[in-house]
């Protein structure tokens, strides 16, 4: 790892607790009732904002560096995810654990992909559309969008009727899914390697 890369990484890591303090500080202060004359509070808020801005630039450059530099990726992520390769046996086990983690992750991604495509609507028909006294309808469908289409998602399948229950894709945000997958990958890797070491 080059010296500037080490500085980049340390700044990113040491910035995290500062940002947590800043977030707590921002939420704990009732900004509507803070007088304009309270310069100390406003200065602290602005300083926190500046640190957040710098940290965000660091985070983006660090993640780009992780994508494009194999050596940096190995030196950093191996340390952060506690991967140990002290000898050939540990390297061998790491490879096997990485393989089982990758395959398990692909299985989960396929499952999530299916869930994200399925659509289910359960609704009551408007009185003019009722056929033979049947007032409730279950509508099943599949949808594959390359880009987020909130307007399309919100399309009302009930068409004038009252929606009783509907499912159109995963109820989680993209950030929470990505974070979940990162935690899953690290967790499953360590679970696999512990099992193999027994």
């Amino acid at each position: 790892m080059k010296k500037w890369e080490a500085i980049l990484l340390k700044s990113f890591l040491y910035g995290l607790p500062i940002l947590v303090v800043y977030a707590v500080f921002s939420y704990s202060v009732d900004w509507k009732n803070v007088p304009q004359s309270d310069n100390v509070l406003r200065m602290l808020y602005d300083l926190g904002g500046l640190i957040l801005g710098v940290w965000m630039i660091l985070a983006v450059s660090l993640s780009l560096r992780l994508i494009f530099s194999g050596n940096f990726r190995e030196a950093t992520l191996a340390k952060l995810t506690l991967i140990k390769e002290r000898d050939e046996r540990e390297s061998f086990l790491t490879g096997r654990a990485a393989k089982s983690t990758m395959l398990a992750s692909i299985a989960i991604l396929i499952f999530l992909f299916c869930l994200s495509c399925f659509q289910v609507y359960y609704y009551t028909l408007p009185p003019e559309q009722v056929v033979e006294g049947k007032t409730k309808v279950i509508s099943l469908g599949m949808r594959l969008d390359l880009f987020a289409d909130e307007a399309g998602k919100a399309a009302d399948a009930a068409a004038g009727g009252k929606s009783l229950w509907s499912y159109s894709g995963l109820p989680f945000s993209s950030s929470s899914i990505i974070l979940g997958l990162i935690i899953w990958q690290i967790g499953f890797y360590h679970f696999s390697i512990k099992r193999m070491m027994k």
Binding site: R86, D87, E88, R89, E90, F92, M197
Partner: protein, 76 residues
């Protein structure tokens, strides 16, 4: 006609050599440049070392690989 497959099982006498030299697993691991867990795994038959590590072990005990490692045939 049925073909019987034989599987080769690598066995080793590492613990014997270690006992003769009166060294612990920890000491051997340090000398060879691996972790103690690897020596434990090799002795227990849970891990077959690479050729390089096998040569390093043989060189350490001043013998050849076949004296430490041998194969047994197992019918499947």
């Amino acid at each position: 006609m049925t073909k019987t497959m034989t599987q080769l099982k690598v066995v080793n006498r590492l613990h014997v050599f270690r006992a003769e030299q009166r060294i612990t697993q920890e000491q051997l691991a340090k000398e060879i440049g691996v972790t103690r867990a690897t020596i434990v795994a090799i002795e227990g038959g849970g891990y077959n070392p690479s050729l390089e590590l096998a040569f390093r072990l043989a060189r350490y005990f001043k013998t050849d690989i076949q004296t430490i490692f041998s194969v047994e045939e197992e019918e499947q």
